[in-house]
Symmetry: C2
């Protein structure tokens, strides 16, 4: 009789928000970037993907993924690359130690859930692929380091490689054609600079604009300014950002963050036809950050925008009253404020028009901060009977 064991392993993985942006592939097949990038891993209390990987000879043939309760396609090139790479590593272990169960030959069943609404327009693919790879690596008991696993996650979604670490994480672009040196490494633990906070402004009606994969390829192909960003701007920003993190220098961190976001969106605008992710609400958020910095007489907040209009505002815990208080005063009672925020006082008076635009344009906020990398958990989303647990 065949072994009907249900093998299971689970992990959670974090979202990361880049402060030096990934935009542009030099190899679309392998997800190799045109430039290095650097991100802050955000706390999984607020934003995380929880994934259980399981395998069993009792499962029907073929791998499957249930994402937020919905069956998800796994036949795509990127997902297949991750399956293939992870199975190959498990198969090597099995070949070296014949006593190991032949998990690499069994169908995989993955069940995954986000603790944040997909509708929020937050890039969930980074947390998603990081959890996917980490969960299967746990299931297969792979000895690979997070950096080694980041090589695999990168092939699922470029920025996913950075979600295999907590804290402050660089994705080194590498130079080898096979991508074997294009991986993530940890610049600093979350505990090195634990008071980094992030306020995310989720913009209403943020219908998906140009998808990032096709968008970045159009930028590489058509932007006259892009080459300068990758040759000159990003290398300077990477150096300055690593130094700022090392020295816990928020003013320097903030300047590079804002400059790099602007530089990235400038190359989007310089794409032909142009790509716009920032809208009038985003501009108003930039205005609000500039206003709070001016009122403070020093840099207390920094904005950054991914491929969409949502603003992520970084600040330090000690400036929370000033920074969050300003946005709270502007936005009123949208969803997402944590306890006590309503009593914060803001030193900033924004011009009325800015205030109006931002007030009507932000649907909810998420308050979070720097956090840890993937965490193994025994809370499985697949039951002992092999069935997905619906919650």
């Amino acid at each position: 009789m065949a072994d009907k064991t249900i093998y299971r392993a689970s992990t959670t993985a974090p979202v990361n928000i880049a402060v030096v942006k990934y935009w542009g592939k030099r190899d679309a097949q392998l997800n190799l970037p045109t430039n290095s990038s650097l991100s802050v891993t955000l706390s999984q209390s607020d934003l995380r993907t929880h994934t259980t990987a399981s395998c069993s000879a009792s499962y029907p043939e073929g791998d499957s993924l249930l994402l937020n309760g919905e069956p998800s396609d796994v036949t795509g090139h990127r997902t297949q690359s991750c399956f293939r790479e992870l199975r190959a590593r498990r198969a090597a272990l099995e070949a070296a130690d014949p006593s190991l169960p032949k998990l690499s030959t069994l169908p995989l069943r993955l069940v995954s859930e986000n603790n944040f609404p997909t509708a929020a327009g937050l890039a969930s693919s980074a947390a998603g692929f990081a959890a996917f790879v980490r969960a299967i690596a746990n299931l297969y008991a792979l000895p690979d380091s997070p950096a080694q696993l980041s090589l695999i996650a990168r092939q699922g979604s470029g920025s996913a490689c950075r979600s295999l670490f907590g804290g402050y994480v660089a994705w080194r672009m590498g130079s080898r054609p096979d991508g074997s040196d294009s991986l993530a490494d940890q610049v600093a633990e979350a505990s090195h600079w634990p008071d980094m906070r992030a306020l995310i402004l989720v913009v209403s009606a943020a219908k998906k604009g140009v998808a990032s994969t096709s968008g970045m390829q159009r930028t590489v192909a058509t932007s006259g300014l892009f080459q300068r960003r990758i040759d000159d701007v990003v290398p300077r920003h990477m150096d300055a950002m690593e130094e700022a993190i090392r020295d816990r220098d928020f003013a320097a961190f903030a300047e590079v963050t804002m400059r790099d976001s602007n530089s990235f969106h400038a190359t989007c605008l310089d794409t032909y036809p142009p790509i716009f992710y920032l809208n009038d609400v985003s501009r108003a958020a930039i205005g609000a950050v500039e206003a709070v910095n001016e009122a403070a007489g020093r840099t207390v907040a920094a904005y950054t925008f991914d491929a969409g209009p949502n603003a992520v505002v970084y600040y330090l815990q000690q400036d929370e009253e000033m920074v969050v208080g300003t946005f709270s005063a502007l936005l009123g009672d949208v969803t997402g404020w944590k306890d006590g925020v309503q009593s914060y006082k803001s030193p900033v008076v924004l011009v009325e028009r800015l205030s109006e635009v931002i007030k009507t344009g932000v649907a909810r906020v998420i308050m979070t901060g720097v956090g840890e990398g993937p965490v193994k958990t025994d809370e499985h989303l697949v039951g002992e009977d092999g069935q997905p647990i619906v919650r």
Copy 2:
């Protein structure tokens, strides 16, 4: 008894809208640009400055300028440079021919009027300084060519040098430190490609953003991408644009126009702190141009934006029904449509949100087209008694 003669000369001068943009000075004192630029001179039937220069020993001491009925400051560095340069040329003539009246010694009185509302947010300084220089050159009977006069107008306002010619006009950046080779020349007469039309969408509540003089200096000082624009992008755009104009190739003209506008605004966004001139209405206008080109199956329209949210849409006369019809259908009965436009049919259906944004955001339109350079006129804005004529 002193000569009380009132000497008078008058001219009109056109607005120009660049298709390869001027943004950045290498010498702020002399108004020397970081790159060449190229513009279309617009018809003076629709947009022009009318200026009378007069001088007389009977005038009180000191030069003066009445602009749209209001006294205007002439003590600024730029205006003083123009006065000084023009007087020096007149003085040289007087020295060579002692029979000439010594106009260079007399106080100048200038009276100037625009035929378009200042509130429209159209850059009027180009037409203004071109008319200013041309009127005084006429008064002084200077033999200087328009290209020579463009050297002077440039010192008043950079883009003014291009308004000394009609048709299609380049401003060559030059290389000499004294600016003596940074002047305008005519790439083609208006009659070479007379069917070029422009529809200007004047955006409501377009309160002045960052002034272009300080804005461009901030870009030069802070944008990491800017150097690439001036080293690589603009030289390519200049060559391609001159070729497109020579060949009357609208598709090529349009592509360079749109790419160059995007490149310029990208460097503004890449400025630190960032400069935004485009807003959601501008983006909607870009969307409408993309939609009409798609519906036509060829390039029938091109957008460009100066240092503000107003869109200028270039198109050819033969495509007026399609292009203007689309904007007319979108905008309804704002001010500025010419006769017959309401009967145009549009092939374009825009998504509702785009349509809503553009409809509520555009205050008026101006329909115009390529036109001639400054025209001498005997209609004076200073009476025979030396008094300004108030109309």
